[in-house]
């Protein structure tokens, strides 16, 4: 088959590639942010914060590129769906980058973990690893236009949701002194940020499903979920 709009399709492919390579940057940022928390590594945390400028720059580039394609190429059908999905996805990628920054900014505030923190730290590490795996899974699903892999992000994300709830329960009982309470509040925030990163990967999965099927649907409906098991 000949492609009579080759330049346009090349540009669209470049925008997709820029988006997915930026998504890969966030998985590295998340690993570093979690490592900085676990090792109380302020320098690494600063690096995560500084490197987010790169992610933000990519976001602006893709955003501008999408606007240019819409204005100049009038994409339709699967091209239009991909353009829309790229615009949504780069926004989610930018948000993931910001959430990594949020985690990194807590590092200098946390200090030594109080007694009994090991279980919580292990759960934070598990949640971080799970979120990183979901970021990678979203990237693979996007490249492969793999609907099953995209939909599977929902059940994968349940792991993070459960860890988030456990961290909350354990953190509120970590201790009564001021430092322990502050540390507990900070880990709650970190768990929450990781949980939000997981949600963003599910949202990217929804965009993949839209590209593949042409139908947009939310995989989960947060406003009608079971209150007892709802996210915090």
């Amino acid at each position: 088959m000949s492609d009579t709009r080759r330049d346009f399709h090349d540009q669209l492919q470049e925008l997709e590639e820029a988006t997915l390579s930026t998504l890969e940057l966030t998985s590295g940022a998340l690993d570093q942010a979690i490592e900085a928390v676990l090792n109380r590594d302020g320098e690494l945390a600063v690096m995560v914060i500084d490197n987010d400028d790169r992610i933000d720059g990519r976001y602006l580039d893709v955003h501008q590129g999408v606007l240019s394609l819409l204005a100049r190429q009038a994409p339709v059908a699967s091209d239009l769906r991909l353009v829309a999905a790229v615009l949504h996805t780069i926004r989610h990628v930018e948000r993931i980058g910001d959430l990594c920054v949020n985690i990194a900014k807590l590092v200098p505030l946390m200090g030594e973990p109080p007694d009994g923190a090991d279980e919580i730290i292990a759960k934070l590490l598990a949640a971080g690893n799970q979120a990183r795996d979901q970021i990678r899974q979203a990237g693979v699903a996007f490249r492969q236009r793999n609907l099953n892999l995209a939909e599977n992000l929902v059940s994968e994300d349940d792991v993070i949701d459960r860890l988030n709830r456990l961290v909350f329960r354990e953190a509120v009982e970590i201790g009564s002194d001021e430092h322990a309470r502050q540390w507990g509040a900070h880990v709650m925030l970190i768990a929450r940020y990781i949980e939000r990163i997981g949600d963003n990967t599910v949202d990217i999965g929804e965009q993949i499903a839209f590209v593949v099927s042409g139908q947009f649907r939310e995989f989960t409906d947060a406003s009608h979920s079971d209150v007892a098991n709802s996210e915090l």
Binding site: M1, S2, D3, T4, R5, F8, H9, A74, P75, V76, A77, S78, D79, L80, R81, G214, Q215
Partner: protein, 285 residues
């Protein structure tokens, strides 16, 4: 079969108490509101000699809708619309199979008058074709005169048609000028005025903007949007963005066959057939 498609066109006219003019043999009859009519094509095939240009197409132009017909050159889209007002048969060696109905009237039924069909189904062509020696006024009045519907209110009818075509304000002070002296976009709107002056129920447009600049094109597109409230409109276009802008439904044809007929939104966001997808995204070779 309504009388309109069978009976001679040149007949006495009268005006009803409501002021509308229509044909009548003896006395005024109640005049229905002008309404668009459904055009249904069923298993329509059109031939040039032995060559089938249109192959078994079934689709409907819905009343008060704009239906766009898109497809590559030679796909049969112009031939298709020319079957709807019986112009295809004017070409020597051509023939049509299948049925075309205007509401429930078969326009190819024995005894159906092609001239009456063309009065009910107006057509606007790719190149604006005003009668070159006629004035603006006479161009619009020509159809009325040909169909015997001239009368004391001829001027009012011409004005009404020119207003409906969005041309009145530009020509009202020069109705005696030659139609061919107007700009390309104005000439095309003059042809639209000429088509709607005889109050058709359906308007077919075959690439009506392909010879116009972008501004004139947008004026025609705006006009199409205005006219669809009163007419059934089908537009053949090579300009897919034009189809996307003006049409409620879009039909994609390929090699004489109807590949897909769906709401325009669907055709341009999530077409159901890969051939449509390939064509609208430019991957068609």
């Amino acid at each position: 079969m309504t009388p309109g498609l069978k009976e001679p066109m040149a007949r006495p006219t009268t005006t009803t108490p409501g002021g509308r003019m229509r044909e009548s043999k003896m006395k005024p009859v109640p005049v229905p509101e002008h309404r668009a009519r459904s055009v249904k094509l069923e298993h329509l095939s059109a031939f040039y000699g032995d060559h089938p240009a249109v192959r078994g197409v079934t689709l409907e132009f819905r009343p008060n809708d704009v239906t766009a017909i898109i497809g590559p050159s030679g796909c049969g889209k112009s031939t298709l619309v020319r079957c709807v007002n019986r112009m295809h048969e004017e070409i020597p060696g051509s023939r049509v199979e299948g049925t075309v109905t205007l509401d429930d009237e078969d326009i190819y039924a024995p005894g159906a008058d092609p001239v009456a069909v063309r009065a009910a189904v107006g057509m606007v062509f790719q190149k604006a074709n005003p009668f070159p020696t006629m004035s603006v006024f006479d161009n619009v009045a020509a159809g009325l005169r040909l169909t015997g519907r001239k009368g004391r209110d001829l001027g009012a009818r011409v004005e009404s048609a020119l207003r409906s075509a969005g041309l009145w304000d530009e020509v009202k002070d020069g109705l005696g000028r030659a139609g061919s002296a107007l700009s390309g976009g104005q000439q095309q709107r003059l042809c639209i005025a000429r088509a709607i002056a005889v109050e058709p129920e359906v308007i077919l447009m075959d690439e009506p903007c392909s010879a116009l600049d972008p501004q004139a094109t947008l004026r025609i597109e705006e006009l199409i949007g205005d006219l669809k409230g009163r007419y059934t409109i089908a537009i053949v276009t090579h300009n897919m963005q034009q189809a996307a802008r003006v049409a409620d439904s879009t039909a994609f044809m390929l090699n004489g066959e109807l590949v897909e007929f769906a709401p325009t939104d669907k055709i341009f966001t999530n077409p159901g057939d890969k051939r449509t997808e390939d064509y609208v995204t430019g991957r068609f070779g």
